[in-house]
Structure formats: structure tokens, C-alpha cells
Subunit: 334 residues, 2 copies
């Protein structure tokens, strides 16, 4: 048996978090949870990619400010995004000149970053570690699908990449919420080849990790207020519930999906829901962490979900491997 | 002051490593150090990208076999590569179905992976952690520069992306070599915009990390057999020495660069040297680790170097940020 799950004997703290977004995210049901809204998709820069970098730069700066921390108070930045060679992150964070760990986990980046930040601080390798991620509708569309100007039709299973970002800092010492545990996800590929149906590709990965966590810990869904996935959307969420049903694991009652939270799917014309690294990152940093800090939520599992395809290999006919990393967040230390 | 450098009180062991390569790497000065050579750039697959995935799959399998380990003996795989969305890694490793941490650090991937594998095992979060990386001349050329069929001329400062891969496993218990310490690199961008001169872009990042290590540890270059960089090549290596000279740090005497080792630059028509994640990974796994294990080398610093650009942002006129992560490897535990 693999040691996929870690339970922290001394759970590290999430000492600050910040969420930033764009106009459409502001108009969604959690619009007032963003610390900063950017109405201009260029973020006053010249290209969408430069705009996405601003999301990360802003999220880190605001997260620092909210905890009255200086840049030098952070020992390591851990970040990634969806863009080729993760340039949203590297160009967004280069001005901070802090020790930097680059990660790639598609839309599961924020849970991988939080998981690593927790291990590095709990292991004594960093005093404070910051995790950050972002996505941008305009950079993702032209990279994965078509230039926006092409005006391509989006099929009903497609999801809308959020223009959003999130950053959080973890420390060995501090108040709630606490990172009680984490499960490192495995790559799961069930043969889905439709790059316009990410939810279906990612649901089995989310289920694999959630099941690993429950098997490893002997806990059950009833121990949690919510089991939160990243961006399964309408299609992937139903599949996740069914996968649970098949094995007698009730996920329906407690499940929330950030992709179904960030937009009003019916009114905002996003088809199957939201997606992108920034979707789960902003809902975690803007909503779930503050709710846990205030004690309005007690325990959640946060399992962001990532589809590990590239346009190149998709066009070569490959199926879509996916991964989902999970963290257990709690308002209590034990 | 940042805690960029970790010195492990109980240094973890590198218990196995494997290097795989292609035809040109076999013809280089260290050709006999590869555990497997693939003469076919397609690796009997249909596309170059599928070929690159085979490099990672092979490296992991051979590293396991050499230590008589089964797949299940590994708790976590940590991997990345240069391809958009790191598909060399995700498609190469999906069949292992092991807990997987995706990383992106361009050609510094192997030192970031080794650094994280060391921290996860030393921190007790994994029993055995495996780091893996690869690059492939044919996938990199068409992604970063031109389709091979175009037959573009390569300028004298350009480097040849190695078709190679490496994998290693780290454990809290075991024999030499030991991972004594690690320094997490900072992003450094000195304004170089020439995507055909990666050595110049990366040298300042390598210097920043090497200087951080010496400042943090109070050790000096004389304490090491070699200071090894990843793929600075001829141009970047000279710049690194000059940066050291400017501050009275003699790097010339002990410096080796994997990009200058893997090929015979004069005879093999590679201009400024080799490059790619697989260059540093294969020289580390095929040459340095075995030399340290045998005690023929006592102490080295391994600082692979990564240029964090993407073709998209390069074409937008952006300069090239770089990063270099460093690990201190030793034949002695203390």
C-alpha cells in the first residue's frame, strides 16, 4: 500500500489568503468574496498573458498585505498555471525574487501547491510557504481551443475558464484553518478523448483520490461539512456521484464543486460550469478559507482536479489523463 | 534573510538511478554511462511526443530494476519536462498509477525534483520518492523553434536539446550518495531576450543560487570536487565564471557543465553545447551519482538551470526569466 495520505501530527496553519478575479467572476454568486476585481481583461498590460501574470502578482501582494507580512517574511513561493511553460506564474512572480518552486498540475495546481506548502512547513524546510495559481479565459481559449476572434461555438459539455487567481500562505504556527492532512493524487486516464468535456475526464481522478483518502484514514463523508472538487462542472459532478454510488460511498450529500459555484451556470452562459486553476484557487482563498477561519465551516476536503492534456497530444488523438490532489482543512487543530 | 538553503540533519540517500538516451548521446563522451540507448527518435511510437514519454517510462522502470524495487515500493513520483503542459511526463508516467507530483522548472527540473524528493522523505511524508525528467531534441525543436523539416540554421550560441532522461529514487535510509543540503532557486531575469542564447539567460540564475548556498552555509568552492551546472553551455559557463570573478568567488577551478559534458561540442556539431531537462538528468543519474556511490567523487553541488520562457511570450518580446535549484550530494553522511 502506498503512503498517498499524510496526516499531520502538528497541523500547519493557513495564515492568510487572497482571491482576485475579473468582471464575469464579480458578477457570479461569490462576486463579493474577491479581494480585487479587474474589469479589464488586459489588466492594463498589452497582452492577455501579461494580464494573467498580474493575477498572480496581485494575489500574492494582497495575501501578504492582509496578514501584514512583508515579501521577506515568505521563505518559498510555490506556483503554477495552465499556460505553456507556466508563464503566468514565472512572469507574475519574477519581481518577488523569492525562492520559487514551479509546479504543474493543471487545474489541480492549488491543491498541489497547498499540499507541498504544508509539507515544507510541517517538515521544517520553510517557515512560511506561499502557494499561488491563476487562470485567464482569454489565454486559455486561444491556447487550448481557438483564438477568441474566431467566435467558435462552445458545446454544452464545455466549461468556462475563470479569469481568477488565488494565493495563500502556510506556517507551522498560527490560528485556523489548519491543514490536517493531504492525499497525493494518482494519474487516472479512463480513455476520454473529448477536450471539450474536461469534467468527464477528471471525475475518475477526483474519485480515485477521495477514495484513497477515506481508505487511508478510515474517515467517511459524514465527517465533513463539504467535499469540494475543483472544476468538475455539471457533467463531471454527476459522474463523481455515480462512481461513489457504485461503491457505496455517498458523495452527493456533501459535495460542492468550485466550477458550479463561481458562476450562475444558467444566467451567465457558461454551459457546464467554470474551470481553470483560478476557479478552485479563488473559491478556496476567497470563500472556504475565510469560512473555516470564522468557524462557520468545521471540516472540508478540498480536491482540485486537473486535466493533464496538451493541444498537441490531443490533436494526435491521445486520451486525457487527469489528477486530483486533496487537502483536509479544518477549523480545529485536532 | 530567506531560508533558501536546507541542510538535512539526517541526509536522505539516493538509492538508485538510471539514465536513458538517444543515438547522439550514445556517441558522446559519456555514451557508455547510459543504461539504455534508443536509436529510433520515435521510440517505435508514432509521434516524437510519444517517444519522449518512453524516455520517462524507461528511466523509471530501469531505476526500479537496478535496485530490485517494485512499482509499489515507491510512494510518490515527482516529474516534469519542457513540453507544453508537461505531457512527456504525464503520458510517460500514467501507467504507473502512483501518487504523482507534477513540477515545472524547465531544465532545472531534475534538481527541483531531487530537492522535493529529499524534503518529502526527510520530512517523513514519503518512504521512497522518485524524481524523473526528460527532454527530446525533436519535440523541443518544433515546440520552441521550428519544425525539423524546415531545416533552419542554428546560431553559434544555440544549444542542442538532448534526447535523454533520468530517474532516481530517494529514501530516508540507505547508502551513499547522500543529499546533504539543498537551495531553492529564485527567479532571475537580467533582460536577455535572445531565445537562441539560453546560456546567457540562465547563468545569472545559477550564480544567484550558488552564491545563496555559499552565503547560507559558509562553505566554499574548495569544499567540493565539482560545482556542476545543468546546461549553461560555452556561453553561459563563461558568464558564470565572470560573475564569480566579480565577487571574488572562484568557480572556474571546480566547475563542470552537463551541457559541455554530454556531447563533444567540436565533433558533434552542437554549437554551444547540450541542453534540455534530460541533459542534466542523464549526466546526474548516469555519471555523478554512480561516481559518488563508488567514492570516486566526495562532494558535488548539482545546480541544474532552467530558462522559464515560452514561445508565446518570447514572440511578444518578453525577456527570459530563469531559475536554478541546487542540491549538495556527498559520498559521506556527515
Amino acid at each position: 500500500m502506498h503512503k498517498a495520505t499524510t496526516i499531520f501530527p502538528h497541523p500547519p496553519s493557513i495564515i492568510t489568503s487572497a482571491a482576485v478575479g475579473g468582471k464575469k467572476e464579480h458578477e457570479g454568486p461569490y462576486g463579493d468574496r474577491f479581494d480585487k476585481i479587474n474589469d479589464d481583461p488586459y489588466f492594463t498590460a498589452e497582452t492577455f498573458e501579461q494580464g494573467e501574470s498580474q493575477l498572480q502578482k496581485q494575489a500574492v501582494r494582497i495575501a501578504l498585505e492582509k496578514a501584514d507580512l512583508k515579501e521577506d517574511d515568505i521563505d518559498v513561493l510555490i506556483g503554477g498555471d495552465l499556460l505553456d511553460q507556466c508563464v503566468g506564474t514565472t512572469y507574475g512572480l519574477r519581481d518577488y525574487h523569492l525562492p520559487f518552486i514551479g509546479i504543474y498540475s493543471a487545474c489541480s495546481t492549488m491543491s498541489e501547491g497547498l499540499l507541498l506548502a504544508s509539507m515544507l512547513t510541517a517538515g521544517g524546510f520553510a517557515g512560511r510557504a506561499m502557494a499561488v495559481s491563476s487562470s485567464h479565459f482569454c489565454t486559455a481559449e486561444r491556447q487550448y481551443r481557438m483564438p477568441l476572434n474566431y467566435g467558435g461555438q462552445r458545446p454544452p459539455t464545455s466549461q468556462w475558464t475563470a479569469t481568477a487567481g488565488g494565493a495563500l500562505a502556510v506556517s507551522a504556527e498560527g490560528g485556523p484553518p489548519y491543514v490536517r492532512g493531504a492525499t497525493i493524487g494518482r494519474i487516472v486516464d479512463m480513455g476520454v478523448t473529448d477536450a471539450n468535456n474536461m469534467g468527464a475526464a477528471m471525475a475518475p481522478a477526483a474519485y480515485s483520490t477521495i477514495r484513497d483518502f477515506f481508505e487511508d484514514t478510515k474517515l467517511s463523508p459524514a465527517d465533513f461539512d463539504h467535499i469540494v472538487t475543483g472544476d468538475l462542472g455539471k457533467v463531471g459532478s454527476r459522474l463523481l456521484w455515480q462512481l461513489g454510488d457504485n461503491e457505496g460511498l455517498d458523495l452527493r450529500s456533501t459535495h460542492l464543486d468550485c466550477g458550479l459555484m463561481i458562476y450562475d451556470s444558467d444566467k451567465q452562459d457558461v454551459h457546464a460550469g467554470g474551470s481553470g486553476c483560478g476557479c478552485a484557487a479563488s473559491m478556496l482563498c476567497g470563500y472556504f478559507i475565510p469560512e473555516l477561519r470564522q468557524g462557520r465551516l468545521k471540516n472540508i476536503l478540498f480536491a482540485a482536479t486537473g486535466a493533464l492534456l496538451s493541444p498537441t497530444v490531443s490533436q494526435q488523438g491521445e486520451s486525457i489523463p487527469s489528477v486530483s490532489h486533496l487537502v483536509w482543512l479544518s477549523s480545529d487543530k485536532e
